[in-house]
C-alpha cells in the first residue's frame, strides 16, 4: 500500500537529469509539457492544471485524495482513512473492520484529528532564503540562518493569508518554494467498506498484482459546521480508463532518493535499511502475537500493525533494489561518468568536492545512527504517552524563543497542526502502551547495553516491564485537560506537573537535542553539496526535470499497461469475476475470504467490470488515494498501491515491470450501487453535488 512510510531516512537528491519514458513526479509549477506533447500529443493547459491541483487533497496523516463533489465530498483510500477510522473505533463499534455509511449528513462522523490540505499557490522564495545566509557561514551557522528565514517567510504568509504556509526544500536545497494550502480540520466520515474487501488478500497480497481491493473511503470536508463548498472537484468517469490510455496521477509522493550519491546509497543499503527492518520485524512479531491472544487486542493495534507490515514489505523491496547489482551498477556508472565530466573544471570545483563532503557527512551521521534513532527518533520509548510528554516538554521550552530559533515543529506556522495532534481525543490504551514501551525499553537496553549510564537512569533500577508499567500507570498525559493545562502553562507547568513520563522525556532531552544538532548540521553540509551538484548538472546536462519527492503535490503521467512476468503476460485489468475466482481458489480462508455483503452480491455484479488496474505512472508511498485522471481531467480511478517490482522506485524509475495499482471508477460506482446499495452516494459521485 502506497501510504507514506515514515521510513526514518531523509528524502534527498535531485531528479535524474534526463527523465526517460513515463518517469517523473513533476512540480505543478514546472509540469512536463514537452514530454506530454512528444509522447502523448497532450497539451497541458494552465486551466487543466489549476483545476486538478485544487481538486487534489493532502491527508496530513500520510496520503492523498481528491474532491469529487462541490459539497466537499472527497475520496481517498481505505488504508489512508484507516488512521481516522481506528481512532473513531471502540470495542463496541469497529469502523475500521466493519465499514460505515452515513445515510444523511447528520450521520456523518467527525474525525478526531484529521487535517486536510489543498494546495492554493506556489511561490519561489529561493533568492530570499539564500540571501539570508551570511557569506562564509559554516554549516551550523548556515543551518540556523536558513531555519530563521524560513520561519519568517512562513509566518508572514500565514499572517497575510490565514492559510497554512510551508516552505518546501526542493532539489535537496537547490530551490525553496512557499506552498500555501487551504486547511480543513473538520472532516467527517461518509463511507467506508469493510476492511476485508478494502484490503482483500491482506499482507500476503499487499504490493502484489493481480489485485482485487476496493481500497476506498469517502469523507466530507466541513467549514463552519456545514459541508464545505468547493469550486474545484473531479468529475467521475463512469466507464473508467481503457488499456493504453494516458492517465495522470495528482498526489503527494512522500519521499524518493533518486539522486543520492553512492556513499549515501551505501549507507542506506548497509546500515539504515537493515536497522530499520530489524526494528519493524521486531515490532511485527510483538503485535501479531499480542493480537492473537484476544480479539480486542487485535482491534486496538490493527492500524499500527498494518502500518508496520506495510512498511516492512515496502522496505524489504527497497533493500532488494539496493542489493541489485543492475540498479546499483547503473547508479555507480552514472556517478563516475558525471564526476569525470566535472574533473579539472575550475567552475565546478564545488561540485567535484561535493561527493567527498557528502560521504564524510554521511559517515558522521552513520556514527550517530544508533543513539539518535533511540533518543531523538524515540524508538527507545515507543508509545503515545511518551510522544505527548515530549511535545509538552519541548513546547514549554521552545515557545518562549523567537519564532525563527525554535525546533522547526514548534514554529508559529506549525501551531495549528501541532495542537490538533496534541489535543486529539483519540483513544490511547494503557495495555498496548505498556506492551510497546516494554519492548522498546528492552530494545534500548540491547542496543546500548544495560550498563550504559543512560540506560541505567532510564530503567531506574527496574526491569523494562516493571518500568514501563510504572511509567504508563503513573503518567497523566493521557488526560486531555491536563495536557491543555501544561501546554498553556508552559515550561513551569511541565516541571510542576512532576509527571514521570515528562520527566523521562526531560532526562533524555539533552542528548536527544545534541544528536539532532549533529544530524541537522551534517544535513546542511549535504544540502550545500547537493545544491552545488544541482547547479553543475543543470549547466552541463542542460535539463531540469523534477525534484525528489517531498510529500508535496506532484503530477505523474503514464499509460494503462500490463507487463510480462516469468514469461507470461499480466493483464492491465482485473475484474469482479477475478475476485470471486480468487476467493474460491484460496478456499475462502482468511485473508482471502469475502465480507458477507460481497458473498451475497455475486449474482448481481457484472463479472467483467474492471476492478483494479495498473499503469506506468511514477508514484511512491504518500501517493495512496491520489486520483487517476484522464485527458479530460475526469476521475477514472484511485491509486492504492504499486507492485513488488515498483518498490525500488525510491532509487530509480523503470517501466519494464514496475506499475502503479488503482481501483477503477467503474468498480467503485457498481459496488456502491449493488453491494452497498447507497444510491445517494453514487448519485453524488455522478452528479458532483450532494443528493440528499
Amino acid at each position: 500500500m502506497k501510504k507514506l512510510l515514515l521510513a526514518g531516512w531523509a528524502g534527498a537528491g535531485l531528479a535524474l537529469a534526463a527523465a526517460r519514458a513515463d518517469e517523473g513526479m513533476w512540480l505543478f509549477n514546472q509540469p512536463p509539457r514537452q514530454q506530454l506533447k512528444e509522447r502523448y500529443d497532450f497539451d497541458t493547459s494552465n486551466l487543466w492544471l489549476d483545476h486538478l491541483q485544487k481538486s487534489s487533497v493532502r491527508f496530513n496523516s500520510g496520503g492523498s485524495g481528491s474532491f469529487v463533489s462541490e459539497d466537499g465530498l472527497l475520496i481517498s483510500n481505505h488504508h489512508v482513512g484507516a488512521d481516522a477510522l481506528q481512532k473513531l473505533s471502540s470495542e463496541k463499534k469497529n469502523y475500521l473492520h466493519d465499514g460505515f455509511y452515513a445515510k444523511t449528513t447528520a450521520e456523518e462522523v467527525k474525525c478526531l484529528d484529521l487535517e486536510l490540505n489543498v494546495l492554493q499557490a506556489i511561490e519561489d522564495v529561493t533568492a530570499r532564503v539564500n540571501a539570508a545566509i551570511p557569506a562564509g557561514a559554516d554549516a551550523a551557522q548556515s543551518f540556523l540562518a536558513r531555519r530563521k528565514v524560513i520561519a519568517e517567510i512562513e509566518k508572514e504568509s500565514l499572517d497575510r493569508t490565514g492559510e497554512r504556509s510551508d516552505v518546501v526544500t526542493l532539489w535537496q536545497g537547490g530551490a525553496y518554494h512557499l506552498y500555501r494550502y487551504h486547511r480543513y480540520t473538520d472532516v467527517r466520515l461518509v463511507f467506508a467498506p469493510e476492511q476485508k474487501i478494502a484490503f482483500y488478500g491482506g499482507d500476503p497480497d499487499n504490493f502484489e498484482f493481480p489485485r482485487f481491493d476496493l481500497d476506498i473511503c469517502l469523507f466530507r470536508a466541513y467549514e463552519n459546521g456545514r459541508p464545505a463548498k468547493v469550486k474545484d472537484f473531479l468529475k467521475v468517469s463512469p466507464a473508467g480508463p481503457a488499456e493504453g490510455d494516458l492517465v495522470f496521477v495528482s498526489g503527494h509522493p512522500g519521499a524518493t532518493s533518486r539522486l543520492l550519491t553512492m556513499s549515501e546509497l551505501e549507507y542506506l543499503r548497509d546500515r539504515a535499511t537493515p536497522a530499520r527492518l530489524a526494528t519493524l520485524k521486531r515490532r511485527e512479531v510483538l503485535l501479531v502475537n499480542w493480537s492473537a491472544r484476544e480479539e480486542e487486542n487485535a482491534r486496538r493495534c490493527r492500524e499500527i500493525l498494518f502500518g508496520v507490515q506495510n512498511s516492512r514489505k515496502a522496505i524489504d523491496g527497497r533493500l532488494a533494489g539496493l542489493l541489485d547489482p543492475a540498479l546499483m551498477g547503473a547508479k555507480a556508472k552514472a556517478e563516475a561518468d558525471f564526476r569525470a565530466k566535472l574533473a579539472g573544471k575550475a567552475e565546478f570545483a564545488d561540485a567535484a568536492a561535493a561527493y567527498d563532503q557528502i560521504a564524510e557527512a554521511t559517515r558522521i551521521s552513520a556514527a550517530n545512527l544508533v543513539r539518535s534513532s533511540l533518543l531523538e527518533g524515540g524508538s527507545a520509548f515507543d508509545c503515545e504517552s511518551f510522544r505527548l510528554a515530549r511535545t509538552l516538554l519541548r513546547a514549554g521550552d521552545e515557545r518562549p524563543k523567537p519564532n525563527g530559533e525554535r525546533l522547526r515543529e514548534y514554529s508559529d506556522s506549525g501551531k495549528t497542526s501541532l495542537e490538533l495532534a496534541l489535543f486529539s481525543e483519540k483513544p490511547i490504551y494503557p495495555d498496548l502502551e505498556i506492551l510497546t514501551l516494554t519492548d522498546s525499553l528492552t530494545f534500548f537496553a540491547g542496543q546500548l547495553g544495560a550498563a550504559d549510564p543512560l540506560v541505567i537512569q532510564v530503567l531506574a533500577g527496574k526491569s523494562p516491564r516493571a518500568r514501563a508499567a510504572e511509567l504508563i500507570e503513573r503518567t497523566r498525559v493521557r488526560d486531555l485537560d491536563l495536557r491543555r493545562m501544561i501546554y498553556n502553562g508552559g515550561a513551569k507547568y511541565a516541571a510542576g506537573a512532576n509527571d514521570p513520563m515528562v520527566e523521562l522525556a526531560r532526562l533524555v532531552d539533552g542528548e536527544a537535542r545534541a544528536l539532532r544538532k549533529i544530524l541537522e548540521d551534517q544535513g546542511e553540509v549535504k544540502q550545500r553539496a547537493h545544491a552545488a551538484l544541482a547547479r553543475a548538472r543543470n549547466a552541463l546536462l542542460g535539463t531540469s526535470g523534477y525534484p525528489d519527492a517531498t510529500f508535496t503535490l506532484r503530477l505523474s503521467f503514464g499509460a494503462v499497461a500490463g507487463y510480462e512476468e516469468d514469461g507470461h503476460g499480466v493483464p492491465a485489468f482485473t475484474t469482479f469475476s477475478g475476485l470471486f475466482e480468487r476467493a474460491k481458489a484460496m478456499k475462502n480462508r482468511s485473508p482471502f475470504d469475502l465480507p458477507p455483503a460481497w458473498e451475497k452480491s455475486q449474482g448481481r455484479l457484472h463479472g467483467k467490470t474492471p476492478f483494479n488496474f495498473v499503469s506506468t505512472d511514477d508514484i511512491i508511498g504518500g501517493n495512496s488515494g491520489s486520483p487517476v485522471v484522464n485527458r479530460a481531467g475526469e476521475f477514472v480511478g484511485i491509486i492504492f498501491d504499486g507492485n513488488l517490482q515498483s518498490l525500488p522506485a525510491d532509487y530509480a524509475y523503470t517501466d519494464r515491470q514496475a506499475r502503479a495499482t488503482s481501483v477503477a471508477s467503474a468498480a467503485i460506482l457498481e459496488a456502491l450501487e449493488k453491494v452497498y446499495r447507497v444510491p445517494n452516494l453514487r448519485r453524488e459521485l455522478l452528479a458532483g453535488k450532494h443528493a440528499p
Copy 2:
C-alpha cells in the same frame, strides 16, 4: 514448549553451591538422596533409579521420552515427534496436522532419520582426560590434547561395546563422564493426535498456564525389523498425581547457564541474546508471511516455524530475566561474596584470577560474534542444501585425519549419527530453500556491508535472490545417491562434483574454521578457569550439587502445586471442562478451535478429568517429553512446557511462580478411549505389553 532450543550459546557453569528447595537437574550417578530424604522422606534406591534411567529415552532431535511397554512402545510430546511427523508428511498426507494411528504394527510408519538413545552406563573418566593435557600447555594445545583423548575414549568404548559412547563435559570442565547409550535408529510412528489439540492455543498460549494440550506422540522402537523387547519401561498410573504429590522428572535438559560469571551473563544480556532474537524475529516474519500466501507453503515450513516461534518466546523470556535487577542483582552479589572469600588466599589464586580470564575470553569471543555466527554458525546460508554441502565438504577433509584430530562431529564415535542425518530421505523443498537462503544472504550483506570482500565473493555479482535461486536450482546435494557417492568418494569427489553449493561451503570454509578455532581456544580458557572456580567452591562451600544441563539424563523432583499470580491463585490442574470453556470463550477462533473429533466427544468425556498440571520440578528446554513419575516410579504424566515465569530458569531456579507443565496420564488414557477410540493402544499402556 520445552523442546531443546538450539540457542547459539554454549551451556556453561557450575551448579549453585547450595541447591535450595526443589532445585536441581541431578546426575543419575550423584542423585539428591539427602534432599529427597529431608524434604520428602523419600529413600532413593539404586534399583528405583536404575529402572527409571533405563526407561528414559533421549530423542536426538532435541527432546525426551520414555518406554511404556515391554514391546518398545514409547511416549514423548507431539512437538518432539513433530520433526519426524513433518519429514513423513507430503501435500497428500499431513501427519503433523491431521494426526495418525496405526491399527496394527504393520501400519506403523518408519521415521526417516530419528535416533533414540537409552542411557546404559556412566563412567567417570576425569582423571584420564586431565592426565592427557601436557603440563604447561597453552589453551590451544590443551584444547587439541583434550579433543584427542576424548575421541580415543569414545572410540575404545564404541569398539568394545558397540554402544554409542559420548564423553560429557560436566561442571564446565570440572569432570568428564563417559555416557554409553543403547541406540535405536528404526523408530516407527504409532499414534499422533491432531496438532490442533496437541498444541491447543498455539503460540499465544505457549509457555502460559492454565493450558489444555494433549501434547503426546507414541512411537515404537524396532530392532532387526521387529518391535524391540525392553526390560525397563514405566507402568502407567491410571489416576495420575494429586495436588502436593512428590513427582520426579527424568529427562534431558538441554543447557543451563546458572553459574556463568557476571561478564558472561552481561555478554548474553547485551550482545548474544539481542542478536539471536533479532534473527529469530526476522525469520518468523519471513515464514509467517510465506505461510499466509498458500496452504502448501504453510505445511512445508510448519515445523521450522514452530521451532522459531518457540525459541523466540522462550528467549524473550530469558532476556527478561537477564534484564531483571532482582535476578542479576542476586547473581552479582553472589559473585562479589565469593570473590571476597577468595581474596588473598594463595591456594585459590587460580580461582581468584579466573574471573578476569573469563571476562577477557568472553570479550574476544564477543568481538568475533557477528562473523562466526554468519560463517561457522551458518546463519548467512540458512538452508538444508548448504548444511548438506558443508557436511560433504568437511567429511571429505576430516575423515582422512586421525580420529582424535578431527572436528568433533566427524569423529568415529559420531559416524552413525552423522550418516543417519546426511542420508535422510526427508523432503527438501527448493522454494523454501530459495526463500530462506535469499533472506539469509540479505542478512549477511546487511551485517557485513555489501562491500565486504567475502560478501562480494559469495554473491558473485548477483542480487541475494538471484544468487539463492541459482545455487538452489543448480546444486545436486538434494540427490541422495549423489550425496552417498561424494561422501564415500571423499575430498576428491567433493571437488570433482563441481557443485555450486559445495563450492560455496569451500569458499567460506577457511574463515569459518579460523573463527571456530578462536572460539574453541577461548572456550578452553573459560573451561580451565571454571574448573578452578569449581575446585575453590567445593573446598570453601563444601557441596557438590548438580552441574549445568548438557542434554544428558538428569533427575528433577518437586511437588504438584499451583501458584499465585497478580493476586489470585492459579490451581495446579486444568480439566477437560476447562478446555471446552476456553474454546467457547475464544469463540472457537484459531488457534483456540477444536478438532472435529474433540467437538464430537465433549458429551462422552468426564469434565473433571485432570488434563494438564504444574509442578515445581526444575526443568528446561530438552525436558519436553520427559516422564513424570511418582514415588512408585509410575508414569503419572509427561512434561511438555514451563510457564512464562520459568523461562529465566536458564540462569536461576525459583519455586515462587515458576512451574513445569505436564499432560496428566488420566487425560491421555481417557482421550485414547473416548476421542480416538483406540482400545488396543490404551490397553498396551495399561498392561505394559502389546495388545494385538
